[in-house]
């Protein structure tokens, strides 16, 4: 089942550079045109990863502005107007610009390699969906320079603060989110088409590595909810520019409708940011435990269960907006239910390690930290599910602590784990061991110093999204700010590790890790530009 490009529409030389590769007989394209026009999944994967790393630092700088202002009570560095822009942009950039594209980048690189496909199913679409991103985020960042400033209403952009009361740049914000959304949908279509059509002969669905499975499910979530986001921002656009009143109470509209629509998108969105992380960790833990993943089938079912439940829990973000009692109960029960499949995953990882033969290479360190820290985030999530208690937790730093535990020491650590795991495959060299270990330990200390005290300040009564706070929260905030700067600075080590790894280092063989099993380890390191031009033999020895 070889992969064939579709018939070319015109007989001209229009495809000379479309492959992104200088083949014999073709003129070598200028490097800029090569990267602009590449359709190679590995090159596009690298573009995604570099883009998301850039966004990670930009969003990180915004976070550090926030933490610097919160270092002490009082207004010292920025005005509240700008502070609100920083919290908003930090959230938007990290969610849509850093975490999501990082996972798409990993999918681009690894899904074809893990299923024995020569490339993504729709390579030109792949190129297009990447290049939409710099446009979207360039536009988003440019709003900071516009009169009235950039978005200042939080990454959840609740109406009417984001419509009637929003700065004029909000229309640009909507456009940029539309573009990013189109990029996500196209990327998801491509991943689904690839996984369903291009698996190596003999590889059944239940033979696929879990990273592929989790991404398949994530891609369906993206296709289901991105149009809802597009709908809600289009309604905002109409309210702002064309005199409608979807969310304007004075015109007969409903501000709560906004929240229902937003969170119907938003809750699956948070699982979009964590399911691929489960897949990465499910590859790394067996490799460094030298033992097969425990409960493969239950991992797949648990992922599917989490994805389905994610459509039934959205209003747990809205426990204090005045929902009717029955709604409150329904969303409390469904939310608590999510703990069951999530628990199954954690138990499975622990059972994989039990009676394994465990070593602690950098990818494993990050994966282990993921398991512990993500579980801490899961615990606070379970607490937040208890609706009566949520009346106290809601919109406090307890919530900030919760979702940062899931997203930073959770999703981000899984991305870092994945990067360390696959860097030998990408570059042909092992990442520098000492530097990687320094990066790991400083990150763990920094991230926990940042986010753990937020549990306490939230419980003690500190609301989120405030530039200034009462004196009893001062110590917690000082600790969090110190932790944030430590964490931010230690990410520079990661850049150093990558640069060193690209340039040289200990050579990695095809199978870079002793216990690694999946198909990507059967191609040379570094992976040549074109792999699996002839489909590999796949022997389902696992089932």
């Amino acid at each position: 089942m070889a992969f064939h490009l579709p018939p070319k529409p015109t007989p001209q030389h229009s495809t000379a550079t479309a492959g992104g590769v200088a083949e014999p007989g073709h003129a070598k394209p200028h490097w800029l045109m090569r990267w602009l026009l590449t359709t190679n999944h590995k090159e596009i994967g690298s573009l995604y990863l570099i883009f998301s790393l850039t966004m990670f630092f930009i969003g990180g700088i915004f976070a550090l502005v926030v933490r610097a202002e919160l270092f002490q009570p009082g207004l010292q560095l920025v005005r509240p107007e700008f502070f609100n822009q920083m919290t908003t942009m930090h959230g938007l950039i990290m969610v849509f610009g850093a975490i999501m594209p990082a996972f798409v980048g990993l999918a681009n690189w690894m899904v074809p390699l893990q299923i024995g496909a020569p490339d993504m199913a729709l390579p030109r679409l792949n190129n297009f969906s990447f290049w939409l991103l710099p446009v979207a985020f360039g536009l988003l960042l440019s709003t900071l320079l516009m009169p009235g400033g950039g978005p200042n209403f939080g990454w959840t952009f609740y109406a009417p603060l984001s419509t009637t009361y929003a700065p004029p740049s909000t229309t640009f914000f909507i456009l940029s989110l539309h573009i990013a959304g189109i990029s996500s949908i196209l990327g998801a279509i491509n991943i689904i088409a690839t996984i369903l059509n291009l698996r190596a002969p003999g590889m059944r669905m239940m033979d696929m590595p879990l990273f592929v499975w989790t991404w398949l499910i994530t891609a369906f979530l993206l296709i289901a909810v991105m149009p809802v986001l597009a709908g809600v921002i289009t309604m905002m656009l109409m309210d702002i520019n064309f005199g409608t009143s979807f969310f304007n109470a004075a015109g007969g509209g409903d501000p709560v409708l906004f929240q229902h629509l937003f969170w119907f998108f938003g809750h699956p969105e948070v699982y979009i940011m964590i399911l691929p992380a489960f897949g990465i960790v499910s590859a790394i833990i067996p490799t460094f435990s030298r033992k097969r993943l425990f409960g493969y089938a239950s991992m797949v079912y648990a992922t599917a269960a989490i994805a389905l439940l994610s459509f039934l829990v959205w209003a747990h973000h809205m426990f204090v907006v005045g929902l009717p009692l029955v709604a409150e109960l329904f969303f409390m029960y469904t939310t608590m239910l999510i703990a069951v499949p999530t628990g199954v995953k954690i138990f499975n990882w622990v059972a994989t390690m039990f009676r394994g033969s465990i070593s602690f290479e950098p990818p494993m360190l990050f994966a282990l930290a993921f398991v512990v820290q993500f579980t801490v985030g899961g615990f606070s999530g379970l607490m937040l599910a208890i609706s009566p208690a949520d009346f106290q937790y809601h919109d406090t730093y307890f919530v900030v602590a919760h979702f940062h535990y899931v997203l930073v020491p959770g999703a981000l650590f899984a991305i870092l784990a994945g990067a360390y795991y696959w860097l030998p495959k990408w570059t042909g060299h092992y990442p520098h061991l000492r530097l990687s270990q320094w990066h790991f330990w400083l990150s763990v200390i920094g991230v926990n110093l940042t986010f753990f005290p937020m549990h306490f300040s939230g419980l003690a009564g500190m609301p989120r999204r405030i530039p200034d706070y009462a004196l009893q929260f001062a110590d917690f905030n000082m600790a969090a700010s110190l932790g944030a700067f430590l964490f931010g600075a230690s990410q520079l080590l990661f850049v150093l590790v990558i640069i060193k790894c690209v340039r040289g280092g200990e050579k990695a063989p095809a199978k870079a890790w002793e216990g690694a099993e999946d198909l990507e380890w059967s191609v040379p390191s570094p992976a040549p530009l074109h792999t699996f031009e002839t489909p590999p033999e796949f022997h389902p020895d696992r089932h």
Binding site: P255, E328, A339, V340, M353, I358, D395
Partner: protein, 374 residues
């Protein structure tokens, strides 16, 4: 196995110490209502469930990491599934959750029972203050941040209740069931007092309900919990709970003051009186957007030297009374008294070098309000 026991013992010991560490500003307050205590105990139950699960899971994990190290020559086993174990660890969490859902449901039902209230208070969020109206009692007032600007800017020393103090607190009687009806004039706010375990969104176009029966007299402090624009951090909630007798006295005082305010609209006010009252009102209500020096900021227009405003006094009054739809300029028809509107308009026309010499009498405003109200 011994290592596992050590781990678990260590975990339990640290768990036993946690309440000590969590006392005093590290944990959710127990609060001063029956509901707040129920919520606190739900919080602690689910917290301990998490701690116990955490000790077991992390204990098993760290035991495995320690015991089965590759560097110590551990040989990996080959098992990779075990149906009964998997069923057990799916079923047990499910049972724990059902056990947790039962008390949570009971508490929630209680929270939603707003019937048979002794007193109704309407709470209206506005950028960036709270307005309280005692329904049926003819008492209403606005509660503004009480912390002076110098403390926020760092030029003055911060007081004990920095950012958690207001000019006029919400006074409530202890032992009575008070129903809170919450709404908003502009964006979504959220009224929150941790000691009362009440947090409820105030949403334009909606009236939300919640209730509180405070058991101990005291002063309870909280804040707006929903991002509502630039001064979100600066709209605190202060509730002063007093004995019923004291409350009745206070209510009578407020009613008398309100009557005096209304009747004072009829008399002639001097320019100095209007300017003094106007400066006070401007500082409490207008300065957060238009700034104390009238220079405006960002999208908020400057009032100093504002020609449109100075040319036409009726236009000026209309803006204050009716607001400007589609912008952050709210209508102050119900928020400010006729005296306050007259004073603030007069002040704005004569402060910061505007020097128009114009003044407007409260009686004229009262007349206009009555006309427009019809």
């Amino acid at each position: 196995m011994r290592t596992l026991l050590v781990w678990m013992a260590g975990g339990l010991a640290s768990a036993a110490l946690t309440p000590v560490a969590l006392a005093n500003g590290w944990n959710m307050p127990v609060g001063v209502t029956a509901l707040s205590r129920d919520i606190y105990s739900l919080h602690m139950i689910i917290f301990w469930i998490c701690v116990i699960i955490g000790v077991i899971v992390f204990g098993a994990m760290f035991y495995s990491l320690f015991r089965y190290r590759h560097s110590k020559g551990a040989k990996a086993a080959t098992f990779h599934e075990h149906t009964s174990v998997e069923v057990i660890w799916t079923a047990i969490p499910l049972l724990i959750l059902v056990g947790m859902a039962v008390p949570a449901t009971a508490t929630l039902k209680n929270m939603y029972d707003t019937s048979e209230a002794d007193l109704d208070v309407m709470v209206t969020g506005q950028q960036w203050r709270w307005r309280y109206e005692y329904l049926g009692e003819d008492v209403a007032f606005t509660s503004n941040l009480g912390t002076p600007r110098e403390q926020i800017d760092g030029t003055g020393e911060k007081g004990e209740h920095y950012l958690l103090e207001v000019d006029k607190p919400l006074v409530l009687p202890v032992g009575q069931k008070v129903r809170l009806l919450l709404t908003s004039d502009d964006v979504i706010h959220s009224w929150w007092v941790p000691d009362l375990a009440v947090k409820q969104d105030a949403i334009p176009g909606f009236v939300n309900e919640n209730w509180v029966r405070i058991e101990e007299p005291g002063i309870y402090r909280g804040q707006c919990a929903e991002l509502c624009g630039k001064d979100h951090a600066f709209m605190p909630v202060v509730v002063e709970a007093v004995e019923q007798e004291r409350f009745d006295e206070w209510l009578a005082e407020r009613q008398q003051a309100a009557e005096e305010e209304a009747s004072s609209a009829d008399r002639e006010w001097s320019m100095d009186e209007l300017m003094a009252r106007g400066e006070q009102t401007y500082g409490a209500v207008c300065a957060s957007c238009h700034q104390a020096d009238g220079q405006g900021a960002g999208n908020f227009p400057a009032l100093a030297g504002n020609e449109a405003m100075l040319e036409d006094i009726d236009w000026h009054i209309d803006r204050v009374v009716n607001g400007v739809s589609g912008t952050a300029m709210a209508s102050f028809r119900n928020t400010l008294s006729a005296v306050e509107i007259a004073a603030v308009v007069t002040y704005e026309r004569n402060a910061w070098g505007n020097d128009s010499g114009d003044s407007v009498q409260p009686s004229e405003i009262a007349e206009q309000l009555a006309e427009q109200g019809e």
